[in-house]
């Protein structure tokens, strides 16, 4: 029963991805690009939602994990793609995405274990700090193009890949949170002290959420790299992390469906506002402030959250 809900998302998502990718040749390239952007945003927002929403650990460093994944994946395909025959390119891409995810997860583990002892705004600042350190390190690494960026990444990301991976992300997060093990995330979110007195080890749950979230952020980074074909350290700064956080808040922390809608909406918003480009960021910041005043629980949270369960 519980798994059915999550599985439904997975099957629907993958079916949609396959269907759409069959017809994607007929789509306008501009719209196709935006659709891929939406898919990447969904992966980022849903994975951050596991950390921020379900587990209640306010992380401001998601763009850092995305950068780690993006750069590792891009480096792998850049080095290997001349040696690999065309028929194996999808396999190479998959390997690159998994590598990107794993690298991000390893960094996530390294960041998570020491820093998750901290709470609230201290944790936010430390994760922000780690995100910035990752950016500074990348900026100084000659092997990935340093400040001028990494160019000429092969274009492997398609709509099918993006949406299939988005579906998998949603599935994993939803299935995890609704599993017996996953109750621990929500318990930690609700009351850490009470949870630990019930025999739950909060640090273990927090680190798990952090590592899984970082893994998917890394995968999203890999998709992003092979979509834009160019990576620069400035693309992964503090503002990018804020972008993802706003998606989670707008959708409602811990509400997967709301977060997906918010991710799509906030990716489309800049495109719609393109003619008001000068005012875009001003409106965006006002949106954050207004939202916090009027609906801090998120825009897409209607009805009560099910007691003791994560709403999917």
């Amino acid at each position: 029963m519980k798994l059915e809900g999550a599985k439904r998302w997975l099957i629907a998502g993958i079916a949609l991805a396959v269907l759409v990718s069959l017809f994607s040749a007929q789509f306008n390239r501009y719209y196709l690009g935006i659709a891929i952007d939406c898919g990447i945003s969904i992966i980022l927002a849903v994975s951050l939602n596991l950390i921020n929403g379900h587990t209640g650990q306010f992380s401001l460093g998601h763009a850092g994990f995305m950068a780690v994944g993006g750069y590792s994946a891009a480096k792998l395909t850049l080095v290997c793609s001349p040696m690999v025959p065309d028929s194996l390119k999808p396999l190479l891409f998959l390997a690159a995405l998994v590598l990107g995810g794993c690298m991000a997860a390893v960094i996530g583990l390294g960041v998570g274990i020491p820093s998750l002892r901290l709470k609230g705004d201290y944790l936010a600042i430390v994760t922000l700090g780690f995100g910035e350190i990752i950016r500074v390190v990348v900026q100084n690494m000659e092997s990935v193009g340093a400040a001028s960026g990494l160019k000429g990444i092969p274009k492997y990301t398609t709509l099918g890949w993006t949406f299939a991976l988005a579906a998998i992300t949603i599935y994993v997060v939803a299935a995890l949170v609704n599993s017996t093990y996953g109750r621990g995330f929500i318990a930690v979110n609700d009351d850490e002290v009470a949870a630990s007195s019930m025999g739950i080890n909060p640090v273990r749950y927090k680190v798990t959420a952090f590592v899984i979230g970082a893994f998917f952020a890394g995968v999203a980074g890999g998709l992003y790299a092979h979509h834009k074909q160019f990576l620069s350290p400035t693309g992964f700064d503090f503002l990018k992390s804020i972008d993802i956080v706003v998606m989670v808040i707008l959708g409602g922390m811990g509400r997967t469906a709301g977060v997906i809608i918010a991710a799509i909406l906030l990716t489309l918003l800049p495109e719609v506002l393109r003619q008001f480009a000068d005012y875009r960021m001003i409106l965006y910041s006002l949106l954050i402030i207004g939202l916090m005043m009027a609906r801090p629980q998120g825009l897409f949270t209607f009805g009560k959250k099910k007691k003791g369960a994560a709403a999917v």
Partner: protein, 303 residues
Amino acid sequence: MDWFLQQLINGLALGSIYALIALGYTMVYGVLRFINFAHSDVLMLGAYAAFFIAPAIEPIISLPSLTGALLVTLLSALICAGIGMLIEFLAYRPLRSRPKLTVLITAIGVSLFIEFTCQHKAVFGADTKPFPPLLPATDFHLAGLVVSSNDLVVVFVTALLLAGMWFIVHKTKSGMAMRAVSFNQQAAALMGVNINRIIAFTFGLGSALAAVAGILYALKAPGIEPLMGVQPGIRAFIAAVLGGIGNLPGAALGGLLLGLLETFAGGISGLSSYRDGIAFAILILILLFKPAGLLGKASVEKV
């Protein structure tokens, strides 16, 4: 040896500015327990206020001069105090009883709002503008070392304002009320402290300090632009955490340490490009090993 002393002087001057900004962070955090992300933008507004006031008062008092600089700084500080109170009133006061995270996100929103509004071409524009010389600047040469008068001014002003803040917080009635609010808001209210007034006062004071810091920073920097506050703001916040957030001498100590560390790291080839990362690395280390900061007292969470 000369190199070492020269870096020491530069580091002290940089650290003093960090200390001054950190003072504002620490005061607001001490009273309200949240990071006022917009502090660094108030700093920028302070520099811009001086940028516009300086030519306006030039016909009355010639610049650069000491009285002129004092007047410009005072007016800018007053304007920024008003802006700080306005931000508190509009953005933070309605959220005072909400979870800390809500306020934190709002503060990020306020900071982005000020930055992007000021970058708009109808406001200040995103380009760098030359900052007018407010003070007559000379370089003193002492046995191979160069000390600029601006550096001395920065150190002197910071020391003076630090002493002033310490006096306000520990010796005046408002200061006692601030400490009471910081200790326990409800209890302070029951004792007849006007919470709203004290918090507004704290914001005004902190923002005035930010304005002074902004002007001092602009005197050293090649020019001013709407994002000028971001980097020193983050450093100063780290300095405040390093020294123990909510602790006035801690903020000064943290600022000086950070300024010195950065200057020395910047002088070592190979490390200099990682300068931006050093402050964060220090922050992470201090939070992991001494979360209360160097001078802070560890607190136990009550259940």
